[in-house]
């Protein structure tokens, strides 16, 4: 028996930093059954469940952990999936420290219960034994809903599964050649193995969800044309795929990438493989601009592609980095350098290729609208980061394609689709939306929750 430390999370096995920063194997290896049971004992099964309130979809956290305590993982899985359709994914990628774990009572004195790790353990433990191809779930009788789900990111996936489980006839339309959205093209293999996303596809197929890849709604078919094909409910989960650029000199030099392009080449197109057809530049010195999950993923990917030096350039300080704590910690272990309080002002070029990144030093001033201290440039304080590749990871906004081809769809000035907070219905009756397309770049769990919520409301309209 393993005994848990009341003040510390039960340690979890990870690949050693100098091994993993050269390969794309998953970094965190997960708990064993014994470790999970030990960690579950740390949960105090509180009356006032702050942790549940911290989870965007209010997973019954003490509820599923209670079953782990008794070793009944199947029951734990049942409780978990009642609220969360993608526990294997959320356990891996949720920013737990600012959600469930951040609110856990144990975090007041020591470390919180490792809710994410337990969630991931439960999902992996059960899902490895489910074969959706052979154990086809029973399908309820048709209910007269023929739904078109646009986009196959976490929002679309959870919407589709929720509808299909209730007996709806569901078709997913996805622009890319693989489903998963950011889970497939953005988040790297070493953080979220693609076999987990493949499992989601099997689940969809088990529920007879039709998947039409290579179909860009707004171009291949408009929503009105889908209506004419007999679809009577719509969910837009088209994400926030449009990359932002800085608008500084040198952004179109050879060797400058948006993080989306860089990660898409590697994840979706497999450019990290020896025999890949899609090329990528194997930079020796790589500068990554930004401080979120996307920046961490790009930096750690560059390192794995053989870069000698990878530097994250961020305007604020280490305390304001928006990335998950675990990613920052892993990046540091893997040898990623952090140049905080530096704002890029120009990408320097030589013969049309990147030759350096000129930055201005910053200091923190009063708090801004986001509640974080605002960075202000320091006069005449410049440095140049020596680099041959620059990756821009400063954010994404919703893709304007669907609103452009559907004028009746209301959007905010920032291009987000307007949807009702409760029903997720848009300004067009029968058309629902959720995930990053509505909120702007957010999180997997929020997108998943929105997809499910929209599906439940569509079902209510029967």
């Amino acid at each position: 028996m393993i005994k848990a430390d009341p003040f510390k999370k039960t340690p979890i096995a990870e690949l050693a930093p100098d091994v993993r920063n050269k390969c794309f194997e998953e970094v965190v290896l997960g708990y064993t059954l014994d470790e999970a049971i030990a960690e579950s004992q740390r949960c105090l099964d509180c009356k006032q469940q702050f942790c549940v309130a911290g989870c965007p979809v209010n997973v019954d956290i003490p509820g599923f952990i209670r079953h782990i305590k008794t070793g009944d993982i199947e029951k734990a899985y049942g409780v978990l999936t009642h609220d969360n359709a993608l526990p294997a994914i959320c356990g891996r990628v949720c920013p737990q420290e600012s959600q469930c774990e951040g609110k856990c009572i144990r975090a007041k004195k020591g470390e919180s219960v490792a809710i994410g790790r337990l969630e991931r353990f439960t999902a992996d433990y059960i899902e490895k034994n489910i074969n959706f191809k052979t154990d086809k779930p029973e399908r309820p009788a048709p209910i007269g809903i023929k739904a078109a789900v646009i986009g196959s990111g976490p929002a679309g996936l959870s919407c589709a599964v929720t509808l299909a489980k209730a007996g709806a006839d569901v078709t997913i339309f996805e622009a890319l050649h693989k489903i998963g959205g950011v889970l497939t093209y953005g988040i790297p293999e070493f953080r979220l193995p693609k076999s987990i996303v493949a499992k989601e596809q099997e689940k969809l197929e088990a529920y007879d969800v039709k998947i039409k890849t290579n179909t860009l709604i707004g171009k291949s078919y408009t929503l009105d044309q889908l209506k004419a094909q007999g679809f009577n409910r719509f969910f837009i989960g088209s994400g926030a795929g449009l990359p932002s650029f800085l608008g500084i000199e040198g952004e179109n030099l050879m060797g400058v990438y948006s993080a989306n392009e860089y990660l898409t080449r590697v994840n979706l197109m497999g450019a990290f493989k020896e025999d890949a057809i899609t090329p990528i530049k194997h930079g020796k010195r790589v500068a990554v601009i930004g401080g979120g999950n996307v920046a961490m993923d790009a930096a750690r990917t560059a390192k794995r592609l053989g870069a000698e030096e990878v530097t994250i350039v961020y305007r604020r300080s280490m305390n304001e980095l928006p990335a998950r704590l675990e990613e920052v910690h892993h990046a540091e272990e893997e040898g990623i350098l952090f140049k905080t309080l530096h704002g890029p002002i120009e990408i320097l070029g030589e013969k049309s290729a990147v030759a350096g990144l000129k930055c201005q030093m910053m200091r923190l001033s009063e708090k801004d609208a986001s509640g974080r201290q605002r960075p202000v440039p320091i006069d005449d304080a410049y440095i140049t980061v020596d680099c041959d590749t620059v990756i821009i990871a400063i954010g994404q906004t919703p893709n304007p394609l669907i609103p452009m081809t559907m004028k009746a769809l209301d959007t905010t000035p920032k291009g987000c689709i307007v949807a009702d907070d409760d029903t997720m219905e848009t300004s067009v009756s029968g058309v629902y939306a959720g995930g990053d397309a509505v909120t702007g770049a957010a999180t997997v769990i929020k997108a998943m929750g929105a997809g499910k919520q929209a599906a439940e409301n569509m079902l209510k309209t029967l």
Partner: protein
């Protein structure tokens, strides 16, 4: 899905391929393009829609087998299937409301030019065309273009067909004589489009060019296809591919086109594919 219905070699290493793709043909317009993937491990390659039959759902592409993926594509035959066909992508070319237009195509650029020629002709414009190539064989789609133009000239580098010279010489002759076009459309190698724009700027004639930066998704997600047009950053896959040639930063585009030259030469040597 995406079954190849016909494949023909139409000149040198230029092929025409017709594919079953009703999801593309339903809304396809002249000037738009598709992204295809030959097989599961393949690259995403953009190709202009040369023809789209709405009734039958037949999509025709005309392409030059110049590198790894296009050679692999050329090696397929009728009955084979493509792994992916996504489209129609990009904005349609402006077609309505033109009186007299001059269409300039260079080499395989004639393929993407042809659907615009046809559409402008059918919209009632007086269509003049200059088709150019290194030699006679490379001036593709002559018969098809003749059918939809009021006047068609051919120029070749070596004089093996039509006038010996460059498309810009023929263009200059037209403009010098005072002919009044309300639009010039030029599609071909970047250097050719740049040269055409150089001439039409002097005569102040509106000129559209079709840009072909390296693309991945084709949906506005990666930003890899970004170009500067009139000092503004545009994504060729969603804002284009046609832009006002007078505003395009050609030098930047030409350098970005060459970004993977060394990597790609490498792939080609490793994996010889013979169509």
């Amino acid at each position: 899905m995406y079954t190849i219905i016909r494949k023909d070699r139409i000149a040198g290493d230029v092929y025409s391929m017709t594919i079953e793709a009703p999801h593309v043909t339903t809304n396809a317009k002249a000037g738009q393009f598709v992204i295809i993937i030959v097989d599961e491990s393949g690259e995403r390659i953009p190709l202009t829609i040369a023809n789209a039959e709405q009734e039958s759902g037949e999509l025709t592409l005309i392409f030059q087998a110049i590198g790894y993926s296009t050679k692999k594509l050329a090696a397929l035959e009728a009955g084979d299937k493509l792994f992916a066909v996504l489209g129609p992508l990009g904005e349609a070319a402006p077609i309505e409301g033109f009186r007299k237009v001059l269409m300039i195509g260079g080499g395989v650029g004639i393929a993407p030019l042809y659907p615009q020629i046809k559409a402008l002709y059918q919209a009632g414009a007086e269509v003049h065309a200059i088709l150019g190539g290194r030699s006679a064989e490379l001036v593709i789609l002559r018969d098809e273009c003749t059918q939809y133009t009021h006047e068609l000239e051919v120029v070749t580098d070596d004089g093996s067909l039509g006038t010996k010279g460059l498309v810009t010489d023929a263009l200059e002759a037209h403009l010098k004589s005072g002919e009044d076009f309300d639009l010039v459309v030029a599609i071909g190698p970047l250097r050719m489009m740049q040269a055409v724009v150089g001439v039409t700027k002097r005569y102040d004639v509106k000129t559209n060019v079709s840009l072909n930066p390296i693309m991945i998704d084709g949906t506005g997600m990666c930003g890899g296809c970004r170009v500067h047009v009139g000092g503004k950053m545009k994504f060729a896959c969603v804002d284009g591919p046609d832009f006002d040639g007078h505003l395009v930063d050609f030098e930047e585009l030409i350098s970005r086109q060459g970004m993977y030259r060394t990597e790609e030469a490498h792939t080609c040597r490793l994996l010889e594919v013979k169509p």
